[in-house]
């Protein structure tokens, strides 16, 4: 951020990124249903939002699907990462290649291919589109992110860790649960969070695998934007924006405080080193 031109550039960039969100929020307080005319301040879209059964149900559905899928994906992915970590080069390459497919494959192809698979069972058995298909689909795109977060932690783990635990009297099972799992826990947790975010945010895969009975929030939003648009959507996005911004700001403040402390500590260390010399 040294020159004026780079400052101006960054301001313009962030204006571009935030302008649409700002507009959404401003119009959530607009009295008129119109998206362009400002007719006065109101909160009644917020009140309407909390009375809208369809939106509330789909919000609940989103939470259920995202939590179930990300928890199961975390278990499946952590186990997979542990297994992959012990593999030889060829097997590992094969697994990592397969893990890369859902990450790089266009979402629409993942959506339609799973829809074809589920339809195969729906037409032949009593299996139905709904929570089960949504959760199965979400697990499938969530697992890679868990693996990508856990594997580096396993690689960074000291090979002596398990031996040390066993020397101190752990049996292999205890060594695994008391030494290995706590060591890779940060990776498991960030993988879980990433899976949760992707699940909450997903639209395309849910759109093709939800069927007609269970709607997630993004599916509801999409069908609302298609027919008649209500400022309730604006109110909803304003709430989401405020919640997420608050979470990220708190996280950032904590990190910055740590960063400042580290910087201060290193300054002290440098000063001490100088005086000693």
């Amino acid at each position: 951020m040294k020159t004026v031109s780079s400052k101006v550039y960054m301001y313009l960039l962030y204006l571009f990124l935030y302008l649409p969100i700002l507009v959404l929020i401003v119009f959530s307080f607009n009295q008129s249903k119109s998206r362009a005319n400002w007719t006065g301040f109101t909160l009644h879209w917020y009140a309407d939002l909390f009375r809208d059964e369809r939106i509330l149900t789909s919000l609940l559905n989103t939470v259920i699907v995202a939590l179930a899928a990300s928890v199961l994906a975390t278990v499946l992915g952590t186990m997979a990462a542990l297994g992959i970590h012990s593999m030889g080069k060829t097997a590992r390459g094969l697994f990592m290649g397969a893990t890369y497919i859902p990450v790089i494959n266009p979402e629409i192809i993942m959506g339609i291919s799973l829809m074809i698979l589920f339809k195969f069972f729906v037409t032949r058995t009593s299996f139905q589109f709904g929570f089960a298909t949504l959760i199965l689909a979400h697990i499938s795109f969530d697992v890679p992110y868990v693996i990508y977060n856990v594997l580096p932690k396993l690689r960074g783990m000291s090979p002596n860790l398990v031996e040390a635990a066993q020397d101190l009297g752990c049996n292999p099972r205890q060594a695994f649960f008391k030494a290995v799992i706590p060591e890779i826990m940060p990776g498991i947790f960030s993988g879980f969070l990433m899976a949760l975010t992707y699940s909450v945010d997903d639209f395309v895969v849910s759109y093709f695998t939800s069927g007609t009975t269970v709607e997630t929030l993004s599916v509801t939003i999409e069908s609302m934007t298609r027919v008649k648009v209500s400022p309730k959507i604006n109110a909803l996005s304003a709430i989401i924006f405020v919640v997420i911004t608050a979470i990220l700001i708190i996280k950032n403040v904590i990190e910055n405080r740590r960063l400042r402390r580290d910087m201060a500590l290193s300054r002290v260390a440098v000063r001490e080193a100088r005086t000693r010399r």
């Binding site: 790089i104 629409i108 398990v162």
Partner: protein, 269 residues
Amino acid sequence: MKAPRSLAIPYAVWVLIFTVVPLALVIGFAFSDTDGKITLENIFAMSDYMAVLFRSILFAIAATVICLVIAFPAAYIISRANAINRSTLVVLLMVPMWINFLLRTYAWMTLLEQNGVINRLLGLIDLGPYQLINNSGAVILGMVYNYLPFMILPLYSVMVKIDQSIIEAAQDLGSNKIRLVRKVLLPLSMPGISTGVIAVFVPSVSTFIISRMLGGGTNDLIGDIIEMQFSGNSYNPHLGSAMALVLMIIVLFMMSLFNQFGSEEDVQL
């Protein structure tokens, strides 16, 4: 001692059922008709959609290039800021990404409409109204807006590792700004560029919501046509699968062009 390899077996089964089999089904559907007979009809029928396919690729390339041009200086500026500014700027990039992309795209409808915010503001100074929505520009804008952070973040993560002394050395040896970018920054940022190009191109070429919301029905992309084959009135999963197959080939082609720089487990975001 290492964890047993067998822990990966459930995942192997999962990948087989939910990744390999579905993709095999798509290929199977693409080469068969409703009676299950093998046919090339669906592939030949694709010739009717060449214009759409061409438009999708063109729009995606345009969006990718624009993202790269905007992101390169931005990522560089962020990477040269001090640690505290850096983390704040990165968080500010990520906040919009956490808002549902349907809502973000919907916001652009509000801005660009005939009597939308931008045209009303222009009307105050006796300009317009201009046709800002339902054209190709609006669709590309929607792609750039939604996927720009996917370009900035991987670029930033390689640029932040470039030592300031390398840049200073180039300047001391007489590089002007253009030479500095061409001879130093660009080669060193290559892994970030290839990750970013794929991260923007793939969702752009396969989108069906951005084109529907901002393109106004006259700018259908391959994603729209595929979606119609599966959930619209013209239900035809065989033709849809053929299109999906073509889309996959395009994506694989792009990957083979750009992915040689990235390592297999180097996934951003």
